[in-house]
Each structure stands twice: as structure tokens, then as C-alpha cells.
């Protein structure tokens, strides 16, 4: 028994030394402050594997793609929203992942893990990591929502509404509000009209989580579009009176995956890092200490305390029955949506 333990330890040490000799570093490309760059996480990973984690950041999905295109070999792990995974794989920016290298793969929720968005020609290009909603957050000391997305258009909140300055997000919100399939809206004129009708409501745009929190704290708005993970952080970390509404008309759902860059200098280290990222240990600490979006790891979601925002809001089957997952978007549609949004912004500024 003792001998077996010794052998196991020896094997582990050998594996660690081998790992260390093979590579000392992995480079991660992600949004700043989004789970991978928590100091405790990178320290824990380094202690476990002797691999140092170096970060670089992007501010938009397009910037992420541009960085992969213009700097091949500069990154190992990259966070890619599932709507972009196929495009990145098709352009040869990321490589196929062998699921057997991810020991926590079996614990991931099948609906997310096996999502078609992560696959191209039968190969897996992204490991489901986190998911969440873009919906409506509100100040629960001022607002009592009735469960409809039309709260954004409620004259009671004229001049007290904020939206993210993001064409796709706002067109999806207007599509849901006009009863359309957000991934394939047919009546764009109805969407234009619905967005224009927000003019008296709209106070400002927000661009980042940090800005949302500052504006909310300064009482600039009462109702605003927001991301579920960020809402959970605002409520938990900053103790702000933030409620999160999943309206009857539905909400925009997104799914983020971790991928390995095509010319990754250290693909083995990248797989180890991804395995650590989808582990129960990382998610538990991330959600309880910082506040995180929902995990794709089904086992750990059910292990959260009953009061946890993610279990309360996102674990509620009735509220999440009407979600629409964001599908990949063609360049032409993206350009068209931006044009509609810019035209609307010009109207707001009149």
C-alpha cells in the first residue's frame, strides 16, 4: 500500500518534471478579468504543472481573430465564443482538440459540450467552458419588473435606460421584443422601428462591465441590457442592488469555449490548462470568490449553494426554457446589423 503510494508519487514527479522540461510557458488570449487570469488560478496551475501562464487580451471578437491571424505561433489557448469557433477553424486559426486529453470532458453538460457550433467536419475545435445570458438587469430598489422585455420601452423609465453600444446585441433584443427568431430575423423594418422607439428611453451606452458598474453606482440608469455573469459579480462582489430579468419573450444565450491556436508552441500545456479551466476546483473558487458566468460543467453547477446567483437565476428551468443560443453570423449580416444600428444611433443623436 505504502509502496504503491510511493510509486504513484514518483510517477507524478516524473510526469511533472517531464512536463516542465517540455515547456515552461503557455500563452492565453482572452478578455481581461475573465477567469483565466485570476492570480490564484494561474498560481495553482503553475504549482501543479510548472507551466507559467502568460496573458494577452482582446477587446472584441474581431480583435481576437485579427490577433490570431496576424501573430501565428504567439498563443496557445484562446477563448472563442461558440458563434466564432467554426469561422476560426475554417480559417485555420485553431486546431482540432482530442477530447481524451481533457479529463473533465465527461462532466460537461452534453447539450453544451456537443454543441454543433464547436465542431467542423466532425472534429472538436472548442471545449465548452462557460455560458450565460445577455438580458436585462435592473435596480431592484427602483424597478419592479413584470417579466416582459418591454420594460425597456416602459415610459415609466424614460431617460433611465442604457444599452451596450453593440449592433448585434441590440438587434437581437429588438428581434426578441418583436417576436422573431433572433438568429434569422425576417422583418428588419419592425426591428428598426422598435429600436427607434427607444429614443426617449435611452440615457447612454455602456461599453464594458467596469463602465456598467460605475454608471449604475452613479445612478445614471435604472434598467439596462447586461450579461448574467457580470450581473452576478455586480450583486455579489460589489453588493449593488442588481436584479436580473429573463423575460417571457426569451433571452440571448451565449456559449464560450476554449480552443488551441493552430500554431500553438505548447499544445500539450494548452490542453492541460483547458482541463484545469473546466475543472470543478477552478469554477467553485471563481464563482464563490469573484462571481462567474454559468459553468458548462454540469456537476459543479449542481454543487453550488442554493442561494448562488447562478443556481438561482440560471438554474431555474422555467426561466431558461425560452433561450435562443447565438448562431454564427455571416460578415454580410454583421455589416447589415451594424448599418442598422449606426443609422439608429444617428437618429438618437438628432
Amino acid at each position: 500500500m505504502r509502496k504503491a503510494g510511493f510509486l504513484a508519487t514518483a510517477a507524478l514527479v516524473t510526469a511533472l518534471v517531464a512536463g516542465q522540461a517540455a515547456a515552461e510557458e503557455i500563452r492565453v488570449l482572452n478578455w481581461q478579468g475573465y477567469g483565466t487570469d485570476e492570480a490564484w488560478a494561474t498560481e495553482f496551475f503553475e504549482a501543479q504543472t510548472s507551466i507559467t501562464v502568460v496573458h494577452d487580451y482582446f477587446n472584441s471578437e474581431q480583435e481576437m481573430l485579427t490577433k490570431l491571424r496576424t501573430s501565428p505561433g504567439a498563443y496557445d489557448v484562446v477563448l472563442i465564443n461558440s458563434a466564432f469557433t467554426q469561422q476560426a477553424a475554417d480559417e485555420g486559426l485553431i486546431q482540432a482538440i482530442d477530447p481524451s486529453t481533457i479529463s473533465n470532458f465527461v462532466d460537461l453538460a452534453p447539450g453544451l459540450r456537443d454543441a454543433g457550433e464547436f465542431k467542423l467536419a466532425g472534429n472538436l475545435y472548442g471545449v465548452a467552458w462557460t455560458w450565460g445570458l445577455t438580458s436585462i438587469a435592473y435596480d431592484y430598489t427602483e424597478v419592479e419588473p413584470t417579466g416582459t422585455i418591454n420594460i425597456l420601452w416602459d415610459p415609466a423609465y424614460a431617460g433611465r435606460v442604457a444599452l451596450r453600444d453593440d449592433s448585434v446585441e441590440n438587434i437581437y433584443i429588438a428581434a426578441l421584443a418583436t417576436g422573431q427568431n433572433m438568429n434569422d430575423p425576417q422583418d428588419l423594418d419592425a426591428i428598426r422601428e422598435k429600436l427607434r422607439a427607444l429614443k426617449p428611453q435611452l440615457r447612454t451606452y455602456w461599453a464594458s462591465e467596469d463602465e456598467w458598474n460605475k454608471e449604475f453606482a452613479a445612478d445614471t440608469f435604472d434598467v439596462a441590457s447586461y450579461w448574467s455573469g457580470s450581473a452576478s459579480r455586480s450583486a455579489k462582489t460589489f453588493g449593488m442592488p442588481v436584479g436580473f430579468l429573463i423575460p417571457a419573450e426569451g433571452a440571448i444565450a451565449w456559449l464560450d469555449g476554449l480552443s488551441i491556436a493552430a500554431d500553438a508552441p505548447n499544445p500539450e500545456g494548452a490542453a492541460q490548462f483547458i482541463d484545469f479551466m473546466v475543472s470543478a476546483y477552478h469554477y467553485m473558487r471563481w464563482d464563490t470568490e469573484v462571481g462567474a458566468p454559468a459553468s458548462a460543467n454540469a456537476a459543479v453547477m449542481n454543487a453550488l449553494p442554493a442561494s448562488a446567483f447562478n443556481r438561482q437565476v440560471l438554474g431555474n428551468p422555467a426561466a431558461t426554457a425560452n433561450l435562443q443560443f447565438m448562431a454564427p453570423l455571416s460578415d454580410e449580416k454583421r455589416e447589415l446589423f451594424l448599418e442598422i444600428w449606426e443609422e439608429t444611433k444617428a437618429y438618437y443623436a438628432e
Binding site: 455589416e335 448599418e339 438618437y348
Partner: protein
């Protein structure tokens, strides 16, 4: 002949590096952008090169692009005018009324904004202009009964921020023009009985026109293309042609449309300069 040749080589050697540098840093990227503005797609992804005029046509067929361009031109006009109204008297005082140490100290204050990052300057304005911000508190210290002063997310905020950012250009260019005016000219006018406002309108202003014009160009051109100041200070009033151009590059990687809109803006600037230069030349000749 030998001296002539040597001189020619000296001129070539001295100016060559500068022209080479300008060619590489300005001409090459600009011509690449001009090329892409006539392409159907940008430089990324797999597709064949295809010539099109549709990005230039977009400007003439889409009303909101023209409306936003007009908004940006208006913004440029307002900022330039404010900079002239504030900057010219400041430059006059610096050039003609203050001497020695004080002038150095005031110059330092004028140039000081240049030493801080433009983004930091704009963010600090959001702290000043917001409700319960520095301006709000100052106003209520003097007049406690007034409603809260909130200038954030407004056109006024954009103008304030941009004027602050670009004012030093106007002060410095006007200062150089005013400094060059011989004091004896003013004294002569005074001794011949000209009044203060006559001296200002008939002597000082005409002689300072080169400075005012240079300052105006230096301010107007970047202001009409500005994007982060309107975005950060303007809220829903922040939509400008500059923000549209920025979003073509950062949101949809639509380099062709972004490039085409930039060149249209450049053409408008050149047109404005072409129209105003005869007027300016005439003024300078009449001196």
C-alpha cells in the same frame, strides 16, 4: 560644377531620409487604404480581389452617413470657433502683455495638457461633468438652490472636452503670429489716434491671420474625425462620422467602407481648404 554637384548631393543626403520616412509612414499605408477602399472585401479571409465603387456610393445613397458627416463638420466648426475665441485673447496677453518669468509659467500651463494622455484628459472630464461631480459641487457652493448640474452624455460635454484638448494648438500658433508683430506698428497707430478696437480690427487681427488659420486647420481636421471623445463624453449624442469609421475597422473589419468614408472626409477637408485659401491669401496680401 563640382561645387554644384556636391551641393546637390548634400541636399539629397540631408532631405532624403526625411522624404523616405514620409513615403514609408504616410504614403504607403494611405495608398494601401485607398486600394482597399475600392475593393469589395478587406485584407482578411479567403477571397479574390474585386473592384467596386459601392463603398463610395454608400455615402451618397445613405442619408445617415451624410447626416453624421454634417454633425461632425458642425462639431469641428464649434470647437474651432471656441478655441479661437478663447485662444486668441490668451495668446495676445502672452505675446504682448506679459514678460519674463510669468510668461514662462503661463506657457507651461498652456502646454501642460499635452503632457497627459488624451484618453486620461477625456476621462477626467467625465468626473468633472457628472452629477455630484466637481462642477456640480462648485455651482452648488455658490448657488445652493439650483437643480443638479449634469452635463455628461451631451453634445456640450463633447465640445468642452475637445476644446480643452485642442486649445493649446490655437494659443501656440496665434502666439507666434502675434509675437512677430512689431510693437512700434501698434505704437504708431496709437500715436496717430487709432482707438483700441481699431488697432485690434485693422492691425492686430489681419497680421495674426496666418496664426489663426494654421491653428484652425490643426484643430478642425482632427476634430471632425474624432471618435473616442464623442463616444466617451457624448452618450447617445456621440454618434459622429468618426465613430462610424472606427466601428467599420473595430466591429466588422470592413476596411473598404471605413477607408472610403475616411477618403470622403479627406476630400471634404481639402475642398474646405481650397475654398478658404483664396480668401486667406487675399487677406495676407492686403497687409
Amino acid at each position: 560644377m563640382r561645387v554644384e554637384t556636391r551641393r546637390r548631393w548634400a541636399i539629397f543626403g540631408l532631405t532624403g531620409p526625411a522624404y523616405l520616412w514620409l513615403t514609408i509612414t504616410i504614403f504607403l499605408p494611405l495608398s494601401a487604404m485607398l486600394y482597399f477602399s475600392f475593393q469589395k472585401k478587406g485584407p482578411f479571409g479567403k477571397h479574390a480581389s474585386e473592384f467596386t465603387l459601392k463603398h463610395y456610393e454608400a455615402f451618397f445613397t445613405k442619408d445617415y452617413l451624410q447626416a453624421l458627416t454634417w454633425r461632425s463638420l458642425e462639431m469641428g466648426f464649434h470647437v474651432t470657433l471656441l478655441c479661437a475665441l478663447i485662444g486668441f485673447p490668451a495668446a495676445y496677453v502672452l505675446a504682448k502683455r506679459i514678460k519674463g518669468r510669468w510668461r514662462e509659467a503661463l506657457f507651461l500651463l498652456v502646454v501642460l495638457p499635452f503632457w497627459s494622455n488624451a484618453l486620461v484628459r477625456i476621462f477626467s472630464w467625465t468626473i468633472v461633468l457628472r452629477p455630484d461631480g466637481i462642477l456640480d459641487r462648485a455651482v452648488h457652493l455658490v448657488a445652493p438652490g439650483l437643480p443638479p448640474v449634469d452635463l455628461t452624455d451631451s453634445y456640450t460635454a463633447i465640445i468642452i472636452g475637445l476644446t480643452h484638448s485642442y486649445l493649446p494648438y490655437m494659443i501656440l500658433t496665434c502666439y507666434l503670429s502675434l509675437q512677430a508683430i512689431d510693437d512700434s506698428v501698434i505704437e504708431a497707430a496709437r500715436s496717430l489716434g487709432a482707438r483700441a478696437h481699431t488697432i485690434l480690427w485693422r492691425i492686430i487681427l489681419p497680421l495674426a491671420i496666418p496664426g489663426l488659420a494654421a491653428g484652425s486647420v490643426l484643430i478642425f481636421v482632427p476634430v471632425i474625425g474624432s471618435f473616442f471623445e464623442p463616444k466617451l463624453l457624448g452618450g447617445t449624442q456621440g454618434a459622429m462620422i468618426g465613430t462610424v469609421i472606427e466601428e467599420q475597422f473595430t466591429v466588422v473589419s470592413n476596411w473598404p467602407l471605413g477607408g472610403a468614408l475616411s477618403f470622403i472626409l479627406l476630400a471634404i477637408v481639402l475642398l474646405i481648404l481650397a475654398v478658404s485659401s483664396p480668401f486667406l491669401k487675399q487677406h495676407m496680401r492686403s497687409q
